[in-house]
């Protein structure tokens, strides 16, 4: 019987996205120790070596790690087609990504030619193979237009981030001379990474998953059709005119936040849900960031004014990008587990009774605790940026929050494999 008649069922094996997911919190736990052992000096400026290691631990180790895993599953669900040879691609990308990030973080703290070259080789191999594989699928004609267009733009942004990152690393070991434009390249690298890769992907995914999981109306057509491409074109312009373009990028995020709140408020499923709380937190953060960004400096206290850029970046990263990713994980983990097991029971209907329901995979209360932990950690992060002496508390909270996330992941995966064993046993009976 051909049960793969629908390409929709082209889901890659579940252990492939799980590998990325389970690695992500471990990187933040590593970052928590980095904060603890670096002390107050880490918070002096964004150019501190330990701060650069920390930001890459968060952006590559957590955000990119989860997003790479999530795209593996989202592409077949939203676009109807999966990547070719997923096990080979994931084995290469995941292992080289871990080594590449570790080399890069170590290279920021203990700079050496060997570490720089190693990070270059491993990160180019990992992210490069990933981009190539996904581009091969994304250039084809796929269903569900708006989200897929967003995926294409996010993938293009990731390519630019990689290119700029390679340029900056090559410069540090004298392979390339970009001294005169070094700062501009660094800013573009950060902007394309956070906004182009991180935010664009989140925005595109939101168009699909909010209506799917929460029975909400679609985003206004004007937003879903034009907002991702506008953001991408602004990013391109920002390479040449950053001062002029950045305010528009902030404003566009404000527009997205308002439409997100509107869609969420119109959802039909109104039962308490931590994922919705994470989305609401992210939207409110973007609105507050708009107010903060456009408030003239003379109205801000001097200790805030001095750290304005760092504060905006940290809040954007933690209360928007990381918040949405955590909220999505709360849905994706039980959803994927259930879906994969359910697919296995299509031809073995009686085994279906062995599959636990979604809340048994991930208890709703446990998700709520993650939300509270995330909120507290975010507040302490903000506080530490202004008063660095609280770094130890931030380190402790990060350790608790991401150990909790890791525990939730292990619990879901354990239940998945236990149930799979039961299903396989019932097939063999």
């Amino acid at each position: 019987m051909n049960i793969n008649g629908l390409s929709f069922n082209a889901l890659p094996p579940i252990d492939l996205p799980f590998r990325f997911f389970i690695t992500a919190p471990i990187f933040i736990i590593l970052c928590a120790f980095l904060i603890l052992f670096s002390g107050e000096t880490l918070w002096v400026s964004r150019w501190q070596p330990s701060m650069l290691a920390l930001t890459h631990g968060f952006t590559l180790g957590f955000l990119t790690m989860v997003m790479m895993g999530a795209l593996l599953q989202l592409l077949p669900v939203i676009g109807g087609v999966g990547i070719a040879r997923p096990r080979l691609v994931v084995s290469v990308c995941h292992s080289t990504l871990i080594i590449g990030i570790l080399c890069l973080m170590a290279n920021f703290i203990w700079p050496s030619k060997l570490l720089t070259i190693s990070s270059l080789i491993f990160l180019v191999c990992s992210i490069g193979v990933y981009i190539l594989t996904f581009t091969w699928v994304l250039v084809k004609k796929l269903s569900q237009g708006d989200s897929i267009i967003g995926f294409r733009l996010a993938m293009s942004a990731l390519f630019i981030v990689l290119l700029l990152g390679v340029g900056l690393l090559s410069q540090s070991i004298g392979f390339l001379s970009v001294n005169s434009i070094g700062k501009m390249l660094t800013n573009s690298h950060a902007l394309f990474g956070l906004v182009g890769w991180g935010s664009l992907l989140i925005i595109s995914v939101s168009f699909q998953v909010i209506s799917m999981f929460h029975v909400a109306p679609s985003f206004p057509k004007l937003i879903s059709r034009y907002l991702p491409s506008s953001l991408f074109f602004l990013l391109i312009f920002s390479i040449f005119q950053p001062v002029f373009v950045v305010p528009f990028i902030i404003l566009i995020h404000g527009v997205f936040a308002l439409s997100l709140l509107l869609v969420i408020s119109k959802r039909k499923r109104k039962i308490p849900d931590s994922t919705i709380r994470f989305w609401q937190l992210a939207a409110l953060t973007l609105i507050v960031l708009n107010i903060f960004y456009f408030t003239p400096d003379k109205f801000l206290p001097s200790f805030i004014r001095q750290q304005k850029t760092l504060l905006i970046t940290a809040v954007y990263l933690y209360f928007y990008l990381v918040a949405v990713i955590q909220g999505m994980l709360l849905k994706i983990l039980p959803f994927l587990s259930y879906t994969h097991l359910q697919q296995k029971c299509l031809v073995n209907f009686s085994a279906m009774q062995t599959i636990p329901h979604m809340h048994k995979f991930l208890n709703k209360k446990h998700g709520q605790w993650l939300f509270y932990l995330h909120f507290m950690t975010g507040i302490v992060l903000f506080y530490t940026l202004v008063i660095p002496s609280t770094y130890w508390l931030l380190s402790l909270l990060l350790l608790i929050e991401f150990s909790w996330l890791l525990y939730l992941m292990i619990k879901v995966m354990r239940l998945y494999f236990l149930t799979l064993t039961k299903i396989n046993l019932s097939v063999n009976e």
Binding site: M1, I3, V215, R269, I271, M358
Partner: protein, 143 residues
């Protein structure tokens, strides 16, 4: 005249609405309202499945010759959805709120995925291949 994708998609949305109303009533521990909404949902769902399994799927299979492809997957998923509906019936009868909400989250995810497959692929394929699609829908509307 209404097309197959248009009519069947609207039915999905109507089912979603009744389903979420039942779920919200359970969350508020209003069992009598929950039962009314749940029963309306179950009736609508059963009618929708019958229209697909008894009329639309055979027409599609006849037109394309694909008897073990997408329609077969959809039939198997219907069977799984019916099993979940039965579990929800039991949870509702036992007035077990936590069990109901865990199962309803599961059914919701399963239905949304199932609906996406039908709306994205199967219904457009049916519109293309089933010659008298609009007449069939007119009969559904009249029934």
């Amino acid at each position: 005249m209404t097309s197959i994708p248009e009519f069947m998609t609207t039915k999905h949305r109507e089912c979603d609405e009744l389903f979420t109303e039942a779920e919200a009533a359970v969350a508020k521990v209003d069992w009598s309202l929950a039962l009314t909404k749940w029963q309306s949902f179950a009736v609508e769902l059963s009618k929708h499945f019958s229209q697909e399994e008894d009329i639309l799927f055979p027409k599609f299979e006849q037109a394309t010759g694909m008897t073990s492809g997408p329609t077969q997957v959809m039939r198997m998923e219907h069977q799984q959805i019916r099993a979940l509906v039965q579990d929800l019936d039991n949870a509702l009868a036992a007035q077990n709120k936590d069990e109901y909400l865990g199962l309803s989250e599961t059914l919701m995810v399963m239905m949304q995925q199932h609906n996406m497959k039908e709306e994205m692929m199967l219904y457009p394929m049916m519109e293309k291949n089933v010659a008298d699609g609009e007449q069939i829908i007119a009969q559904f509307q009249a029934s």
